[in-house]
Symmetry: C2
Subunit: 305 residues, 2 copies
C-alpha cells in the first residue's frame, strides 16, 4: 500500500509519523515523478497533485475544514475524508470559553483600566443575561456548546439538518435561523464554510441578534462580512468580537480590524492540528478501509462538509 | 425574633431581602439606640456594634472570608457563621479559568501583538505542561479545582487538614507543602487568611515552584508577599500573575504592581456576594437554629476559618 503526503508544511513529519503508525505501508512525501498512491494525506495541495494520482482510494484532509479543497478538481468517486476532532474540539472550546468569559466578566475593561492605574469595580454581570448561540452543531460545535453549558451559560445551537440534543435547543434550517439569532447575545461560529454559509454573519443577521451582541468566530473568515461587522460595531449594535479567522490571512497590515475597539484579533490559532492524534485517526481509517469497513468523516461534496 | 443588619454598604437592601425571606422576624438596619437582636448579618461592622449586642445567638458574615472580623472583640460563645459558596464558587472558578487559559494559551501575548498589528502564530502549548496547584480545598477551592480538572488540566491541591478527594491528589500540612509546590506550575490561592497562611506565597515558596510559574490570587492580598512576587518576576523565575486582591485595597496609585509586565490587576471582583443567594442561605440557617438543628459554616475561631 502506497501513501502520499502532500502538505504545504511539515510533510516529512507527517510521513514519519504515518510510517510509524502503519509499518506495512510505503509512505512518501509527494514528488512529481513518484508512483501513484492509494491514499493521500493533504493540506492545501496543488491541483497537479490530484492530476497525477489516478489510483487514489481515499483523500484525507489534515484538518477539519475542507473548503480550500473544494475549489480544486478532485478525482471522481474518491472519498474525501476530513479530520474529526483529533484534539481540536478541546482547543476550540478553550478559545471560546476564554473569549466569552473575557467579554461577560469585562476582563478586557479591567485590563484597560489597569493600564491607566484605575481601581474601579463594575456591577457584576450574570451569565443568564448572555445566552450563547452556537452556529454549527457538528463534532466541534457540539463540544464547544457543551463546554459552555457546563460552565453555566444558557446555550442553544443552529444547524442545517435537524439533530437531537438532550437539554439543548437546536434550531434548524433557514426557517429556524431568525429565531436562533433573536435568542442570541453571544454568537459563536463553528460552521463549515460552504456556498450556503459564506457571509452568514452579515448586516441582516447581525441586526437580528440581541442588543450589545458579541461575536466569536473560530470557523472561517468567509463566514463573516467584515465590513458589516465593523459597521455594526461603530453603530453600537455590537459590543465586540473575538476573531481568529479572516477573509484574508494573514490579516493585512493596516486592516481596520486591527485597531477596532472591542475586537480581539488572534492569528488563526484557536485549534492547532495535533499531528499525533491526527495520524492515529487517519491510520485507523486506512486500516478500516483495507478491511472493507465503513469510516466516518467522509465529506458530502454537494453539501461541502 | 430580631435581626440586625450591620453592613458597610447596601444594608437596607439586605434588610428588605431578609424581611421578605423571614416574614415572622423583625429585621432592621443597625442603629446605636436599637433594641438588642438575636441574629446579626454583618460586613466590616464597627467594634461598637458587637459591644451593644448582648443577646446575639449567631453572627452571620456576609462573605466567605472572616479575617476582618477576627481583629475585633467578638462576644464570647456566639457562633460566627461564614457564607458558604452562595454563587461565589462559580464566579471564582470563572475568574481562575479565564486567567489560566489566558496564560497557557498566551492570549495576552496575542493581544499585545495585535496592538502592534503583528500576525504571528506561536507554537501551541499543552495543558499537560501546566500542572495546577490549588492552595486551599474548602468549598471554594474544591469547586475551582474541579472546574479546572473538567477542562483537562492536571490539578492537585493543598490543605491544612487531610481531606479525601476522588481522582485528585491532596497534599496536606507543612510536610506536604514542599512537594505540592514542586509539582505546581500554576499556583491558585483560595485559602482563608489566618496567622498561618499570611504571607504563604513568598520568596521561599515561590522558589519551590516549577520554572516559569504563574500565580492566581483570588483569596486575600495578605497571602502574597508582594515585594517577593515582584522580585521573582523581575528575576525571570515567575512568568506572571493574575491578582484580584492586594495587601492594600484599592491598590494605591503608583504601586509597582500596576505596571509590572505579566501582572494582570483586577479590583477585587473575582466573586461578588450575591445578595439573593446569600439571604436565602442565612434565612435557612436562622430557621434551623430556631428549630435547634445544627448548621454548617460555623467558624473555628482558633483556626480562623
Amino acid at each position: 500500500m502506497r501513501i502520499a503526503c502532500c502538505l504545504n508544511s511539515d510533510a516529512t513529519e507527517w510521513r514519519d509519523a504515518l510510517r510509524a503508525a502503519l509499518p506495512g505501508a510505503s509512505v512518501e512525501t509527494w514528488a512529481r515523478d513518484a508512483s501513484p498512491s492509494e491514499y493521500a494525506i493533504v493540506w492545501r495541495p496543488p491541483q497537479e497533485f490530484f492530476d497525477t494520482q489516478p489510483r487514489l482510494k481515499a483523500i484525507f484532509n489534515a484538518g477539519a475544514g475542507v473548503d480550500a479543497l473544494l475549489n480544486l478538481r478532485l478525482p471522481d468517486g474518491v472519498p474525501l475524508v476530513r479530520l474529526e476532532d483529533a484534539g481540536m474540539a478541546e482547543q476550540m472550546a478553550d478559545y471560546v470559553v476564554h473569549a466569552v468569559l473575557r467579554h461577560v466578566r469585562e476582563f478586557d475593561v479591567y485590563e484597560s483600566q489597569a493600564r491607566g492605574g484605575v481601581w474601579k469595580p463594575r456591577a457584576p454581570r450574570r451569565k443568564a443575561d448572555f445566552p450563547i448561540g452556537v452556529l454549527g452543531f457538528g463534532v466541534l460545535g457540539e463540544y464547544v456548546a457543551r463546554s459552555l453549558q457546563t460552565m453555566g451559560f444558557p446555550v442553544h445551537a443552529w444547524t442545517r439538518t435537524p439533530k437531537d440534543a438532550i437539554g439543548l435547543r437546536v434550531f434548524t434550517g433557514d426557517a429556524g435561523l431568525e429565531d436562533f439569532l433573536a435568542a442570541t447575545r453571544v454568537l459563536v461560529c463553528l460552521l463549515p464554510l460552504t456556498g450556503e454559509t459564506r457571509g452568514i454573519v452579515n448586516r441582516r443577521t447581525l441586526a437580528l441578534l440581541r442588543p450589545e451582541a458579541y461575536i466569536v468566530n473560530v470557523a472561517r473568515g468567509g463566514h463573516v462580512v467584515e465590513s458589516d461587522l465593523i459597521e455594526a460595531l461603530k453603530e453600537g449594535r455590537l459590543a465586540g468580537a473575538a476573531l481568529d479567522v479572516f477573509e484574508q490571512e494573514p490579516l493585512p497590515s493596516g486592516h481596520p480590524l486591527w485597531d477596532q475597539p472591542g475586537i480581539a484579533v488572534t492569528p488563526h490559532i484557536s485549534a492547532a492540528t495535533l499531528r499525533e492524534e491526527s495520524v492515529e485517526q487517519i491510520a485507523r481509517k486506512i486500516l478500516a478501509m483495507e478491511r472493507g469497513d465503513p469510516i466516518s468523516g467522509v465529506v458530502d461534496l454537494r453539501r461541502g462538509y
